[in-house]
């Protein structure tokens, strides 16, 4: 900045010799002034957007128990600027932002026993990316934070596909070790006065972890911190290499067809492509060794999957291309039903299994009438298999023939398109609402609604079609009887 002053001084001291030179000198001055003003303004706006708030304490708990990583971040934010703040920004490194399946925030009110959480809106911020491509998310506060005021926010987010198996290939009798990359310092657009990060691993076997003083390991917990007075966007990469033998069950594609029949039944057919996404299996598979020593052989494989279905489910089937798979158990109950399935073979690293699960539900459990006369289907969106990641889910809701104006209410963003499908006794076809989403975790198993208009008289179309077929047969018989085709009179 002092360079500008020196330059300015030299221009002012210069004695212009001709009018042209005066003009040139004056224009140079104005140019330099305007540049200076622009720089000052832009620098002030940058500082006001990112360092308005200060985070007093931040605590981050990372749960690495399953292959779906859950992180809870508790922040105490204080407003130091003159104007009230209505948004709090969160930053994520680009690799984490790509694998972020779900992010939720809540405002914490009260302490300890009387703690209550008020959910807040989180969405991708339209600010420019931070340094090194950090993606910003914006939390909208319930009440704007006044100057000097502070608020406690709890953010929970889910990361998928973030545990790399290392070694990449293991044999049947080895245990699965994975890498987790993150930062000891919480990445944030604001300054953090005090922060701690606690990482919880599923077992005590931690091969190695990057030491960023002060960092300690206590059985299954790794504690990084407390760190004081870190500037904004500070990042210290760490690597944790630990054992994780929990099932890495990933469904590559799930196609769910939900067919509504107004005669009393909802039929759900689900087509799964399941894969074990952990360290790939190398070498042969010895069934004898697998079955005789289960604690040593195949510890990273999984045999059983639990499918959580709604109560009052009927006609459940589990089959694949070959035929019915009989290794399954269904337990029905009042609040839920559980189907425990066992694929034809245990799944080791990199192995795939495809199968179809189908079931029916009574219509009064899922179809309701709203106040404005529209009918709506209330059903769960995600995959019913417990603790499974779905790379792509395609939900097809087949509405009965004669339904018009379908509309959807889903709590998160999905891609929607429409199709027509032809089934029993159809003339014009049934409208199908197709909802697609990528990177679906069990937290997405919430109810969604599909609204549509349906006139009850349209239900008569089916029996009338059958009646007209029989009547046509009778008319044909009559015509034959009345026809006189005898040659002799």
């Amino acid at each position: 900045m002092h360079i500008f002053f020196r330059r300015l001084g030299s221009i002012l001291r210069e004695k212009p010799r001709l009018n042209m030179e005066v003009f040139v000198a004056r224009s140079r001055l104005t140019l330099i002034f305007s540049l200076f003003a622009l720089l000052f303004l832009s620098s002030s706006s940058l500082s006001s957007s990112t360092s308005e708030l200060q985070i007093l304490t931040a605590e981050r708990r990372i749960d690495l128990a399953s292959h779906i990583i859950r992180v809870v971040l508790t922040l105490k934010v204080q407003n130091d600027e003159a104007s009230p703040a209505s948004n709090v920004l969160l930053a994520f490194p680009p690799a984490q932002a790509k694998h972020l399946a779900l992010i939720q925030a809540a405002e914490v009110a009260g302490k300890k026993r009387k703690k209550s959480l008020h959910p807040l809106d989180v969405k991708q911020s339209n600010h420019a990316d931070g340094p090194n491509g950090a993606k910003l998310y914006s939390i909208s506060l319930r009440n704007p934070l006044s100057t000097g005021g502070s608020v406690s926010i709890e953010v929970s987010y889910v990361l998928t596909q973030s545990l790399e198996p290392f070694p990449v290939e293991i044999s049947q009798s080895e245990s699965q070790l994975v890498l987790y990359r993150d930062s000891a310092l919480i990445l944030s657009p604001y300054e953090i006065k005090q922060q701690t990060t606690v990482i919880r691993t599923p077992s005590t076997k931690i091969e190695s972890f990057t030491r960023v003083e002060p960092s300690t390991q206590l059985r299954t917990e790794l504690k990084y911190g407390p760190y004081e007075d870190q500037p904004s966007f500070s990042y210290s990469p760490i690597l944790v290499h630990f054992e994780n033998n929990n099932p890495f069950a990933v469904v590559e594609e799930l196609v769910r067809e939900i067919e509504i029949s107004h005669w009393g039944n909802l039929q759900v057919t689900e087509h799964y492509t399941l894969v074990h996404n952990g360290a790939r299996h190398k070498g042969g598979f010895s069934r004898v060794e697998y079955q005789s020593r289960p604690t040593i052989s195949g510890v990273a494989s999984f045999k059983h999957l639990l499918v959580k279905l709604p109560p009052r489910v009927h006609s459940v089937y589990y089959r694949d291309n070959i035929g019915n798979i009989s290794t399954s158990h269904l337990r029905t109950g009042y609040s839920k039903s559980e189907l425990e399935i066992e694929p034809r073979y245990p799944l080791l690293g990199g192995w795939k299994a495809t199968f179809i699960i189908g079931y029916g539900l009574p219509l009064e459990d899922v179809l309701f009438e709203s106040d404005d006369g529209k009918r709506y289907l209330n059903f769960s969106f995600g995959c019913p298999i417990a603790e499974t990641l779905v790379n792509k889910i395609i939900n097809k809701v087949v509405l009965p023939e004669g339904s018009k104006n379908p509309s959807i209410v889903v709590p998160f963003s999905v891609e929607r398109r429409e199709e027509t499908s032809y089934s029993y006794l159809d003339i014009v076809g049934r409208p199908v609402v197709v909802l697609e989403k990528e990177n679906v975790v069990p937290e997405h198993n919430v109810l969604f609604q599909v609204y549509y208009d349906f006139h009850p008289m349209s239900m008569l179309a089916e029996p009338l079609m059958l009646t007209s077929v029989f009547f046509f047969l009778f008319v044909a018989a009559l015509a034959y009887i009345h026809m006189d085709i005898s040659i002799r009179k």
Partner: protein
């Protein structure tokens, strides 16, 4: 959340489907039988087209609904 959540169910109770199917098909087949008996026993002069058509219509209505309930009772929810 809707103020009053009214579940929608089938216009005919689902438990009645098998009984209704058998009943309606039986009545429909009776009327079909009477139609063909009328055709067989009457001579060309005595036939009344109106009676034939009405019998045929009633038989086809009962047979149509009966076959619909038969499809529903056997699990093909059309």
């Amino acid at each position: 959340m809707a103020q009053s959540v009214k579940p929608i169910s089938s216009p005919v109770p689902v438990a009645w489907y098998p009984s209704l199917a058998v009943l309606m098909l039986a009545v429909g087949l009776f009327i079909t039988a009477s139609f063909f008996i009328y055709e067989a026993t009457s001579s060309r002069k005595n036939r009344s087209l109106a009676k034939e058509l009405v019998t045929g219509a009633m038989a086809s209505v009962f047979l149509g609904f009966g076959s619909l309930f038969l499809l529903l009772a056997s699990g093909v929810y059309v």
